[in-house]
Amino acid sequence: MEQDEKRRNFLKYLGASSVVVGTIGQGVLAEEQAQTSNESKKPHYGMIFDQNKCVGCTECEVSCHKVNAVPQGQARLYVQNKTDPKTPMEKRYVRVSCQQCEDAPCVNVCPTKACHRDEKTGIVTMNADDCIACKYCIVACPYDVRFINHETKAAENCNFCLNTNFAKKQDPACVQACKYKALVFGDLNDQDSYINQILHVKDAVRMKPTFGTKPSLRYIPVVKVGV
């Protein structure tokens, strides 16, 4: 009897916690739906990085370098090994790249509008010709994911391959390169998109959300079960 009671409590607890997680997910979704209706079908591109699937092979980095002609020694995309040294067998990797903020400080501070939001796609990108390399955007970015390209001498960020693969209606280079499907790219405003289907069923988080810039990248963290 007593055992049974405990079990029931445990189940109740589980139920409650999933309700909490569920409502959080719903909150984000509702917010996104509201945006869809009043922004009349403008796309909002986003990306998911699934930490459970990433093995740290860095194929995405290599492919990004090639497709976007990023100079050697520089990167728009980096995979950081965040494995806890105390548990070296539990590998953890994290994608480091522009978070494609909806309220992007880099766009707000750029004095020449070289760093801007692309009219059609809403993607934060660059017009290298107008950049004077003042580095204001670099210090303003809360995620520290911008740099001055040594060759073009202009600031740069991950723009979902806007001028390369995206222009050819292909997925970003990193997404194409990932053999483990750890990366998903798509339109968050399209309710039927694959990226939304995943977000419906998995708990994804935004990186450092307290900065309040509303990143469009979502991370599915490794969560230990059964401990």
Binding site: V94, V109, P111, K113, A114, I132, D144, V205, F211, P221
Partner: protein
């Protein structure tokens, strides 16, 4: 931090805005501060003649801001493209607003120099082709009250904007505070006062211990006290803040930048003027040596402050 997931590397090189920007921030502060103080004094004392202080301050404000521009443009990685900033404006950007303010402020300081030095110019430049422009003087004279008011207003704007410029950087707890613009205005006042008094007494023969210099000498201490208070507030806001803020408070106690703070800002900027004016007796305090030394120390102190804020600020990030 204890997030479910996070990354801890970045693509920048730590301090992206280095010493040229620090020097620019100092020069802009001196320029604005010098004009604010000298014009305020002129209004307050209802002066109509060209005082040595006004001569010094107008010259200082023009020359320092022009040198400031050299540092600012020199720090761009594409300095030859700086004109792009003059044709593209983004009104959400503090930098754009600052550039706009500077585009008005620099000509204003130039005009002020021209009217204040009218006598000297007519005397020394009448043999040059520039004398053809002398017919403009009556016009400038008519505009002078407006020029002075505008220059005064824009001097405050320029001082404050340099603070806002870096206080919008959310990644850095030492910079991202409401106190910073105020601190920059106040420290600009103290550097501007010090620098223009030095010039006024050295080149324009102002009596180092009488008249305007004496007035400046009395307001110097409340300004310094305010500067200390603002720094103290900044420090307290960090130690009672989030874990990032607390970490950032370490800028005051560890590493090379804390030495810059205690030696440069506190020791030279506050300590030297205080010691020479109050602790070593009246005789020393009234010497020309003490006058020049404490003036130079104030300016150095403010330079240290700008560099400390900039370097330590960009070293500790959230």
């Amino acid at each position: 931090m204890n997030e479910a997931i996070e990354f801890t590397v970045g693509f920048s090189h730590g301090v992206e805005w280095g010493w040229p920007i620090g020097v620019y921030l100092l020069l802009a502060g001196i320029s604005g501060g010098a004009l604010i103080v000298s014009l305020a004094l002129r209004y307050y004392k209802r002066q109509v003649e060209e005082t040595p202080l006004l001569k010094a301050a107008s010259l200082v404000s023009f020359v320092t801001i022009v040198f400031g521009m050299v540092f600012l443009v020199g720090d761009l990685e594409k300095p030859l493209y700086f004109w792009k900033i003059l044709i593209n404006y983004n009104f959400k950007s503090v930098m754009s607003i600052g550039v706009l303010a500077l585009c008005l402020y620099i000509p204003l300081t130039f005009v002020l120099v021209a009217v204040v030095f009218e006598g000297w110019i007519k005397e020394h430049l009448s043999a040059t082709p520039l004398s053809k422009l002398f017919f403009l003087f009556p016009l400038l004279k008519a505009l002078r009250p407006a020029v002075e008011v505008l220059a005064f207003v824009f001097a405050i704007v320029v001082c404050a904007y340099t603070g806002f410029l870096i206080s919008v950087l959310v990644r850095f707890p030492l910079l991202n505070t409401a106190i910073l613009p105020a601190l920059f205005v106040v420290s600009g006042l103290s550097a501007g006062t010090a620098f223009s008094s030095l010039i006024a007494s050295f080149f324009f023969k102002a009596d180092a211990h009488g008249g305007d210099m004496k007035t400046l000498h009395t307001i110097e201490w409340p300004v310094m006290a305010l500067e200390m208070l603002l720094l103290f507030m900044l420090f307290v806001s960090l130690i009672v803040g989030t874990s990032f803020d607390k970490q950032t408070a370490g800028a005051f106690s560890q590493g090379g930048y804390s030495a810059l703070f205690w030696f440069g800002v506190v020791g030279i900027g506050f300590g030297v003027p205080l010691v020479f004016n109050f602790l070593l007796g009246k005789k020393v305090a009234h010497s020309a040596f003490a006058f020049y030394l404490s003036g130079a120390a104030s300016v150095l102190g403010v330079l240290s402050l700008r560099l400390f804020i900039l370097y330590a600020g960009q070293t500790f990030s959230a």
